[in-house]
Symmetry: C3
Subunit: 447 residues, 3 copies
Amino acid sequence: MSRVSSFLSFSLTLLIFLHGYTAQQFPNECQLDQLNALEPSHVLKSEAGRIEVWDHHAPQLRCSGVSFARYIIEPKGLYLPSFVNTAKLSFVAKGQGLMGRVIPGCAETYQDSPVMQQGGDMHQKVEHIRCGDTIATPPGAAQWFYNEGNQPLVIVSVFDLASHQNQLDRNPRPFYLAGNNPQGQVWLRGREHQPQRNILSGFAPEVLAQAFKIDVRTAQQLQNQQDNRGNIVRVQGPFGVVRPPLRGQRPQEEESNGLEETICSARCTDNLDDPSNADVYKPHLGYISTLNSFDLPILRFLRLSALRGSIRQNAMVLPQWNANANAVLYVTDGEAQVQVVNDNGERVFDGQVSQGQLIAIPQGFSVVKRATSEQFRWVEFKTNSNAQINTLAGRTSVMRGLPLEVISNGYQISPEEARKVKFNTLETTLTHSSGPASYGRPRKAEA
Amino acid sequence: MSRVSSFLSFSLTLLIFLHGYTAQQFPNECQLDQLNALEPSHVLKSEAGRIEVWDHHAPQLRCSGVSFARYIIEPKGLYLPSFVNTAKLSFVAKGQGLMGRVIPGCAETYQDSPVMQQGGDMHQKVEHIRCGDTIATPPGAAQWFYNEGNQPLVIVSVFDLASHQNQLDRNPRPFYLAGNNPQGQVWLRGREHQPQRNILSGFAPEVLAQAFKIDVRTAQQLQNQQDNRGNIVRVQGPFGVVRPPLRGQRPQEEESNGLEETICSARCTDNLDDPSNADVYKPHLGYISTLNSFDLPILRFLRLSALRGSIRQNAMVLPQWNANANAVLYVTDGEAQVQVVNDNGERVFDGQVSQGQLIAIPQGFSVVKRATSEQFRWVEFKTNSNAQINTLAGRTSVMRGLPLEVISNGYQISPEEARKVKFNTLETTLTHSSGPASYGRPRKAEA
Amino acid sequence: MSRVSSFLSFSLTLLIFLHGYTAQQFPNECQLDQLNALEPSHVLKSEAGRIEVWDHHAPQLRCSGVSFARYIIEPKGLYLPSFVNTAKLSFVAKGQGLMGRVIPGCAETYQDSPVMQQGGDMHQKVEHIRCGDTIATPPGAAQWFYNEGNQPLVIVSVFDLASHQNQLDRNPRPFYLAGNNPQGQVWLRGREHQPQRNILSGFAPEVLAQAFKIDVRTAQQLQNQQDNRGNIVRVQGPFGVVRPPLRGQRPQEEESNGLEETICSARCTDNLDDPSNADVYKPHLGYISTLNSFDLPILRFLRLSALRGSIRQNAMVLPQWNANANAVLYVTDGEAQVQVVNDNGERVFDGQVSQGQLIAIPQGFSVVKRATSEQFRWVEFKTNSNAQINTLAGRTSVMRGLPLEVISNGYQISPEEARKVKFNTLETTLTHSSGPASYGRPRKAEA
């Protein structure tokens, strides 16, 4: 009896294991029958903020080949410098602060006096960031953030795991230059219970002492071994870095040398929250702005782009699909009713997405969004430097491009009906929606 | 006893499962000991034609990272608009018709009167297609075909699953804008028994009604729910779309606006059946034409190219290999004797390939073809926008590039023999073959 | 009892199998807790030399997506022409010789008399190679080497399996044009016990006879069936190939036609051993030279680059990481103490690497090297045509780019200490190290 039961339990374990394995590893990893509005699965707490990480093993993120994180930095909080193994695109969802990105080899163009003096400093570019800023970061480039406002600074970032810019496996791997992560890389199997230290702590202190020409005690200090503040620390006293005036007065030209003209001075930030730069703008409905490699050339290299949308109650974004990219949609304000349809014609999502939630829209999947709160605002990150949207309805839609004969024969409707399908909607992207908040139809035909 | 047998059957099942699993998933997925001339594994029947799909899990296709399909459209048949998640290259193997590709955002440049009138229409470019036309389609772009001839219109298409243009998994996923597929995506595990509907049928009819500004009844009609005509339907009455005169008289310049000058007016079609444009031409043997990104710039973006060959009885294509691409060879007419050799020096194919059959030739594998019917005609799709062929024998071959000393020392032959090996064959690609139809040698040394 | 034991043995076998399987196949294939200095795992012996192959399944090589081999060619040894399915970058570690690369379709620009005469020859470019030469080879291009010196000619090569240039699976697959490999492709599962023949031996001799217009006996000779000399053979008598004078006197311009101006005459070789071209040079410490796509444009296409380093006893290469590439480091002379740190801040390597050993440094991993012999010389191959190094300490380091406030807050040190950390080391890459040979700290915190 015990043999039978042990055999059965073994078989069961094995089958569960294999099922989990095949479910995760079989090539049909984009065969999505259901999407979900995702919330963070891990929270890393720090002295002056927290990092919230989405589970990149979730089927819809795995299919899209990206991972996602949210950084909440409290006032006077400093997100210590780190770099990742992937191209990264970030969006400032709330607050304001300073951002520094260090590209080793580039000159320290920010200095507080012409001649290096006692107490003075010189360092690489520091930028003001504020809500709406979209920040491109190449792999391996160190970056830090500082909240100098009075409210939390919230930054969301997408990491493109599937791109050739990432030469490691399909896992996000932050490398900490300072600070640490006492909870460990909880999103990686086998790393959950190991604290993650900064990379200096992996070297022998004597090696660091020689490399930095400092004493061993200071070298040990660089390893943050006794430090349990995490990776977002509270700054004591004023944060005296050299910084330019606030944007608007920002000088377009910075002091430059030959090297800077290339990668060192490449612009890596743009703001998507100014309706006066919107690509689609309707006063009563909202606006949509895109950021692609034509606006920000470094995106061509990173193969990423972004879209910012802001619509009012009951405005609808006409049904559309991404032709050449996966997209991840993060809600910054309000909520919307969203329907998503997969390649099989099944509705794989039909529900609310609310502030702080994430949903991935794979290539080709069609989506329609309708604001159900006073304001619905979101940012979409796309895995192509020049992502193309195709709309199903409207003045620039696929229906408008089809001959009437194709429409009437395809749907078995009269030429008059075909004409309505083709020409009735004059808008391109945004239209007014007067319908109920939800249609209550079951998600899948067989459900 | 029953325990033992159940244990054994479980073990056996498990081992078979694991064997199937490892055979398919182990990294040596290009370790091919045998190729086969492949025929379609699935047939999707429609009202006015059928779609024949090759099993993309076949080892040689999986190694090549592509899938393949053949569309047979009967006279007055309309292949309804659909798009796929990959770059696609198609070849018109038989017949003639019309093709429309809709790139949302581009203007409707085809209209039947300067001013939009009742009964008139305007839509995007419509092209005549005929045998030999090679058509490049980017991912996510909707496309339809119409057969306006008297014989079946046959189109074969390759889908590049392995390219970064496909951002989903390595499965071909057509998205139907109209029509449906009652048999389901039979080539995808888990989708065999689910009918595939058009993408509009995934949205609530009320959402469609609002998006298209039509009534709900018409919106329901757009979902083709009660429709079992499949994706190729028979057009009732005349097919009155705006179309240019037949090619030859085709105007080189079309009406354009700024946007069209870029992607909207990019040429996507070229004909490979005109011997006067052949790259290799020998009156008594045949001709070979190639289409790469120098001829059709959009191919650089799609990373695909094509080769069309037509040879007469007993002509031989000298042994060669693809340096930087996988190739899939589809026979449009006649038959040939083909030998293929893998990296281990084994003959992995030695047999006939006939009209309608497909064979994949992975990168580096050497192949020799000899026509065994009056005419042998084929098309090869290659996974590189500028695929390079290296020949083993002939005036531009690798042997001609090697010093005589290397040849005589390598093969232990006399300088005189080395000279013959190097210089005897003066042709570059095609030569006359007088041998028997088959040599009857076993395929593999150990077989 | 026997049932139980058979069940247990089955379970055990299965678990071992699954463990091996999951250990190799799980997506965390870059989760490296330990690196090793690797030596060749397979030796293929030939008549006049041997090929030493590193196991490309080793976790650190699999993570880096490359394989590695060393060719030892004895005096008068000829490495017969072969090609591979990947981009390849080679480095001449010892000796001198001749190299020929055949690009089919290019002209035979080397001929020993203006008119083709009896006894004369013409063939493609032949180049002298010597220690320090770095040679780029595209996939599918045939290449041969000949040792015309008095000591062994040693060449090491990296094969980029993960690049899109390789369109097969992630295995190195040499294709032999002549010669053979009686031991078989021992690095491939399932190929260990099958001799690997040249690709001509896969065709029927009658086919070869027709293709080369030679008799069947000579065709059989081309198959090297009775040949057990391997792929490096001893040349009998003088090796009379047409060759230019030794470099230094090398003419910059060769006879050219239109085709040659493009790929046929693309330079594919550069020497990294001339300190007068070094990128970093300190007389008492050593030098570092890099070769990227700015120096050798073909590397942009191959997505590879190289770095050559030569340092003296106790010189230290400051700690650094590769921002956008994996690197494999091969030691050509001497030995060094090396420490490597992973993303988790763990020291994953702490030991000696010596002449003939290899170590992979994945993207983002930090490394510090200190010479522990009179001379330490190495070559690094990187999987990016323009690999960027970021240093931790020194005048162009990440620390110099950070504001003092970030350093003092990050490491909880005083402004004075932060100033030392940032400014004390004035060198950029190389510094003097006076420390002991080893620090004897355990590699991992928990070890």
